[in-house]
Each structure stands twice: as structure tokens, then as C-alpha cells.
């Protein structure tokens, strides 16, 4: 089977938990698309199980989560744990939202690759992804 040219990296973006503020995640989704990624937005009120299941079905390399409700210390680790349970720890998890610095440190220790707080230029997120996946998927 011939390899089509560089396969685009596939990214699931989602909002986990009850928070419905989707401005940021939608802006990020568009920016990722414009940067050449295939983006699947799975919507609001996702559970960790739903997000991971979608990532597996879609053969995504990355999961991006947006949480503005303060529930990040419960929900990010839950997604990481679910990835472990489904034996998919090769999937990169990153996120954004209202998350204080010491929580970011703690979350990274628990397996979250990066957190982008409000005000982060979209270009920064794109560059971070490009560094992680220089050859595409």
C-alpha cells in the first residue's frame, strides 16, 4: 500500500466535565486546522471514557482538553488513567484553561504533557505540537 504523503497528525479536542465555555477550544481547533492537523472536536460534557474511546476509534495521536471550571485536578488525571486502562499511553495529552501554576506542575508529573493558560498565543501551541511531531503522524 503506497504511503500517501506525510499523514496529518490527528487531534481530539474536547471539553471534559460540566463546564460549557467553548470559546477557547473552538479557536484552538480552527488554529490547529490551519496549521495542518486533522482535528476532531467531540463537544461538551465529555467524560474521560468518552474522550479516550474517541481517540482510539479515531487513531488520534493527541488529546487536547479544555477545562475552565476548576475541576482540572480530577479530570486530567482521570483521562490519563483511562488511557492507561485502555493501554494507549502513547497518546499525548495536553490542555488549556484556568489552571494555576502549581497545579500545572502537579499535572505534568501525572502525565499531562503541557498546559496552556489563557493568553497563550495560538502559534505557541502549534509550535509545541510541531516539535513533538516533526514528521507528522
Amino acid at each position: 500500500m503506497p504511503e500517501t504523503a506525510v499523514r496529518p497528525v490527528r487531534i481530539i479536542v474536547a471539553k471534559v466535565g460540566l463546564d460549557g465555555h467553548d470559546r477557547g477550544v473552538k479557536v484552538v481547533a480552527r488554529a490547529l486546522r490551519d496549521a495542518g492537523y486533522e482535528v476532531i472536536y467531540t463537544g461538551l460534557r465529555q467524560t474521560p471514557e468518552m474522550v479516550v474511546d474517541a481517540a482510539l476509534q479515531e487513531d488520534a495521536q493527541v488529546i487536547g482538553l479544555s477545562i475552565h471550571s476548576g475541576a482540572h485536578m480530577t479530570l486530567f488525571p482521570a483521562v490519563v488513567a483511562e488511557l492507561k486502562r485502555r493501554k494507549a499511553t502513547d497518546i499525548t495529552v495536553f490542555g488549556g484553561g484556568i489552571i494555576p501554576d502549581d497545579d500545572i506542575v502537579a499535572l505534568k508529573k501525572q502525565g499531562v504533557a503541557e498546559i496552556f493558560t489563557p493568553g497563550t498565543p495560538l502559534q505557541t501551541i502549534v509550535e509545541w505540537l510541531k516539535k513533538r511531531f516533526p514528521e507528522g503522524a
Binding site: L18, H21, D22, G43, L44, S69, A71
Partner: protein, 547 residues
């Protein structure tokens, strides 16, 4: 030597065009993209009969005496963790000069869930107070005389339930519902459009709103039944014109729904209130507020035929823009908030919430919350802006911009009408798409530095020391869970289940649901149980998301 005299305006124009412009690439349009002239003169002043405050169409204010008669209410939104903690914060703010209470609820409460629901885990108490039942509400207002203060409650899908809880607490204090004053946000349309805290589908959601308006018109006549909100629409990324137009369109949709119920416009219109954002583009906001009053007055009088003056007067609460705050160099947020608050005051707001500087990072600390309140007191008592009514009235610029905002809003009203009204437009994702497009456009402008956010895309510093932020004690979550289970154990089970089944039956019919909800609340049914009874009949709503 004779120099030919130039017309002075012409002269200015020529000199301006000959002069060098700044070359920093910053946009000279408003933050919403409204192009601005460098200068406005008498030629830009709209030709109309001079407007006056307290007179139709109220562009210059709904009260004859403006802030000379009464200052705006300083109403700081707050709530966190448990009812007990929040009760303490309320007493602190009241002692420090706050003049009205405003309740923020946590996510599970906003979403109609009990604290022990599985999807509430990790979410309790973070963005507001956890209220599971009347017991929590009693704690929240313990020692606060509901007959003497006014309270605003920010909640939407379960709004009717929380209002009933408030009424029930007042009952226990010996205060009758007819003496209660306050506001319920209760604006479900903007949930579908922007904030996404909807539960039921649009039709039953509207029914509940109309039920609450109808009920209050008779039983709680001093209560502002709805706070038709533009704030969330704006925070989701809309322009000022969209905020203005979508909010007022929502308002008209509620009016239509109430009229359809058979209510008379003058019976409920004066208790509809509004809630706007005060964003950082100073003059655009002032123009927006003035245009809002004028548009609403015209529509109420001319389109809906309201007879009473008080039905024509748009009253609004304002909150300074959360999205304008930065996590970087957060002390600067104090300045931003002050400027935004000033715009709200110059725009004639009836009540005002000023954000605390640390709210980008977490719920505010006591100190930050107090500073935010002090900012309002500064405006009211030191700056002198409250001394004259609508001080910017007559400004060539502000009047021209007010007219422009009005014109842009009317264009949107037509488009919404063409789509068949607000609800069809929601289902066609019209608003959501406009908002997402505007949000993306603005973000691109920031990325290209055509607009700046000081400290974020320019004038940045590295290695800022962390500021002290408020942490919710995670122990509080398990305590709250235990509390709601205790309430369920201790109540009169028969009374409670009877009330719930009567509510369910009524939901399937056409009765006004407020009395049934009130009875369930009195019987210590939990919020989640009351919501579930209605979900069983109404179902839930899934949005057709557009990116």
C-alpha cells in the same frame, strides 16, 4: 500677502491627511471592528430632537435624576465552596459596604445536579457555592434578613428551583414573597447561544421561564424575573453589536412567549431586566448601553404597544469583562476593571460588578474581592462622574457611535426575523457561528499584533512571582456529599415523593410549575431530584455544535 482663508474643518482635514500617521500597525477600529474616524464634529451629531434623561426613548438614562437620585448598586458576584463559607463572605462584603447580594453557584448546581452525582466529582464548590437542597439555602442566608436586602441569583436551567428555595427560606424568616426583591438570571436562550448550561430542550425551557415570570407577576411582584444577558454572549467572543442585538432579540423572544401565554405586556415587562458586559473598548461600550435603552424603549412602545412608562425602561446590571483580564502581570487587571467600570457608569448602569484582579487564575481572595469593591467606591465618591447625568450626551463621537450601534443591531434583528425568530436561529446555529467567527477573527488580530493585550502579546515580563490565589479545600467536597445524603435521610419521605410525583404530572400538563416546585423544595427534595422529575418528562438537549 493674502492667504486664502480655508474653512476650518476643511483645513483640519487637509492638515490631518498631510500629517504622519502612527506606524505601529494597531487597528484604529473598535475592538468589535467598527471603523472610527479620527475626529467627530458637529456634522456627525445626529439630527434629532434633544433627548433627556427619564424621557422616552431614555437614551440618556431611565431616571430623571440619574445617579444624583440614587447611585448604582454595588453588587459583587460571589460564592464558593459551601453555603457556610459563602455566608461568611456575604457578611464580610455587606459589612464593607456592598449594597446587594449576588450568588454564584457551583457547576453541579448550575447544571441541576446533586453533589453526590457521579459527574459532580471534582466540580464541587470551585466556581460558586454548592446548593443541593433547601437546607443549604438556609445556611447560605443564615443571619441575613431577606426582607432588607436584594439578592441576585445567577442560575439558568434550574433557576425556578433556586427561586423557590429563596422564597422558602424567606418564609422561614417570616418574610412573605410579596416583600422580596432581587433578580434571577433565568435566561435560557443565551445558554443555547453561548454559555451552554442548558438541560431541557428549548420549548420546555421557555415554558419554565414563562411560568416563573407569570408566577412572580402575582406572588413576587418586586422580583426581577429574568436578567436577559449579553455578558456571556460577549465573553464567548461576540462583537459589541452582536451582544446588543442578540440580547435584545432574546428579550423580545421572552416577551413574545409571555404574550402567547396570555399575559398582558404591562403586567410583566417592567420586571424584565438585562445584563451586559463592560469590555475594554471604552467608548463603544458607552454607546452600546445608550443604544440598548433607546432600542428597547422603541420596541416596547411601538411594536408591543406597552402603555406604561415603566415597561419601556431598560434596566441593566453590568459586569466588567472577564475575557479582558490577563494572567500575566495581573495587577494590571485592576486598571482594566476600573476603566471598564467607568464605561458602565458613564453608560448609566443600574448595578455593577467589578472583577477582582486574580479571577483569571481562580476565585478571588478576600483582598482582591475587597479591592474590586473599592474600585466602585472610588468611582462613585472620588471621581465626580456621578454628579451629572449622562455626561457624554451631546458628544459628537458618542452620539454618532450610539446611532451606529443601533443601526447594526437593527440589521441583526432583520436577519433573525428572516430565520424565523430566535429559537429557529439557535437551531440553525446562526448565533453560535457568528460568535465563533468573531472570536477567531479577534484571536487572529491578537496573533498579528494588530490589537494588543498588554503583558500578553506585548510588554511582557518573564518569571513573574506567583500571586496568592484562593484554593478550595478538597475536603469540602466530601463534606458536601455527606450533607446532601443526610438531608435525604432525614426528610419526610412521603411528603417529598408525593411532591415530586405531582410535579412530574404537572410537567406533563400545562399548569404553571412554580407552586409544584415550591412544594417539592419545602419537602427537602434535592435540586437533582426536582430536575430529574422534569427531565423524565421534557428530555434533555444536545446541541448541534459548530466550530
Amino acid at each position: 500677502m493674502k492667504v486664502r482663508a480655508r474653512d476650518s474643518k476643511q483645513a483640519w482635514k487637509e492638515d490631518f491627511e498631510a500629517s504622519a500617521a502612527r506606524d505601529d500597525g494597531i487597528e484604529t477600529s473598535t475592538i468589535s471592528g467598527v471603523p472610527l474616524k479620527p475626529l467627530y464634529t458637529g456634522d456627525d451629531l445626529p439630527r434629532r430632537e434633544e433627548e433627556l434623561p427619564g424621557q422616552f426613548p431614555y437614551t440618556r438614562g431611565i431616571h430623571t435624576s440619574g445617579y444624583r437620585g440614587r447611585l448604582w448598586t454595588m453588587r459583587q458576584f460571589s460564592g464558593f465552596a459551601t453555603a457556610e463559607e459563602t455566608n461568611r463572605r456575604y457578611k464580610y462584603l455587606l459589612a464593607n459596604g456592598q449594597t446587594g447580594l449576588s450568588v454564584a453557584f457551583d457547576m453541579p448546581t448550575l447544571m441541576g445536579q446533586d453533589s453526590d452525582a457521579p459527574t459532580s466529582r471534582g466540580e464541587i464548590g470551585h466556581c460558586g457555592v454548592a446548593i443541593d437542597s433547601l437546607a443549604d439555602m438556609e445556611t447560605l442566608f443564615d443571619g441575613i434578613p431577606l426582607g432588607d436586602i436584594t439578592t441576585s441569583m445567577t442560575i439558568n436551567s434550574p433557576a425556578a428551583i433556586l427561586l423557590c428555595m429563596y422564597i422558602a427560606v424567606a418564609e422561614k424568616q417570616g418574610v412573605s414573597a410579596s416583600g422580596l426583591g432581587g433578580t434571577l438570571q433565568n435566561d435560557i436562550l443565551k445558554e443555547f447561544i453561548a454559555q451552554k448550561e442548558f438541560i431541557f430542550p428549548p420549548a420546555p425551557s421557555m415554558r419554565l421561564v414563562v411560568d416563573s415570570i407569570e408566577y412572580c407577576a402575582k406572588e413576587v411582584p418586586k422580583w426581577n424575573t429574568i436578567s436577559i444577558s449579553g455578558y456571556h454572549i460577549r465573553e464567548a467572543g461576540s462583537t459589541a453589536a452582536q451582544e446588543l442585538a442578540f440580547t435584545l432579540a432574546d428579550g423580545m423572544a421572552y416577551v413574545d412567549a409571555c404574550l402567547e401565554r396570555g399575559m398582558h405586556i404591562d403586567d410583566f415587562a417592567s420586571r424584565l431586566s438585562f445584563f451586559f458586559d463592560a469590555h475594554i473598548d471604552f467608548f463603544e461600550e458607552i454607546a452600546k448601553f445608550r443604544a440598548a435603552r433607546r432600542i428597547w424603549a422603541r420596541w416596547m412602545k411601538e411594536r408591543y404597544g406597552a402603555q406604561q412608562e415603566r415597561s419601556w425602561k431598560l434596566r441593566f446590571h453590568t459586569q466588567t469583562a472577564g475575557v479582558s483580564l490577563t494572567a500575566q502581570q495581573p495587577e494590571l487587571n485592576i486598571a482594566r476593571t476600573a476603566i471598564e467600570a467607568l464605561a458602565a457608569v458613564l453608560g448609566g448602569t443600574q448595578s455593577l460588578h467589578t472583577n477582582a484582579m486574580d479571577e483569571v487564575l481562580a476565585l478571588p481572595t478576600d483582598k482582591a474581592a475587597r479591592l474590586a469593591l473599592r474600585t466602585q467606591q472610588l468611582l462613585a465618591y472620588e471621581t465626580g462622574v456621578a454628579n451629572t447625568i449622562d455626561p457624554l450626551g451631546g458628544s459628537y463621537f458618542v452620539e454618532a457611535l450610539t446611532d451606529e450601534m443601533e443601526r447594526q443591531a437593527e440589521v441583526y434583528f432583520k436577519r433573525i426575523e428572516e430565520l424565523g425568530g430566535v429559537i429557529p436561529a439557535i437551531e440553525a446555529s446562526f448565533f453560535q457561528k457568528e460568535i465563533a467567527d468573531a472570536a477567531f477573527r479577534y484571536q487572529q488580530e491578537l496573533e498579528q499584533k494588530r490589537r494588543l493585550m498588554v503583558g500578553v502579546n506585548e510588554f511582557t515580563v518573564n518569571d513573574e512571582p506567583p500571586i496568592e490565589i484562593l484554593r478550595i479545600d478538597p475536603k469540602l467536597e466530601s463534606e458536601q456529599v455527606a450533607r446532601v445524603r443526610e438531608v435525604r435521610k432525614k426528610r419526610d419521605q412521603a411528603r417529598c415523593s408525593n411532591a415530586l410525583s405531582r410535579l412530574k404530572k404537572a410537567a406533563a400538563g400545562t399548569d404553571n410549575l412554580m407552586p409544584y416546585i415550591l412544594e417539592a423544595v419545602r419537602a427537602y427534595a434535592t435540586e437533582g431530584e426536582i430536575m430529574q422529575s422534569m427531565i423524565d418528562v421534557f428530555g434533555t438537549y444536545t446541541e448541534q455544535a459548530v466550530v
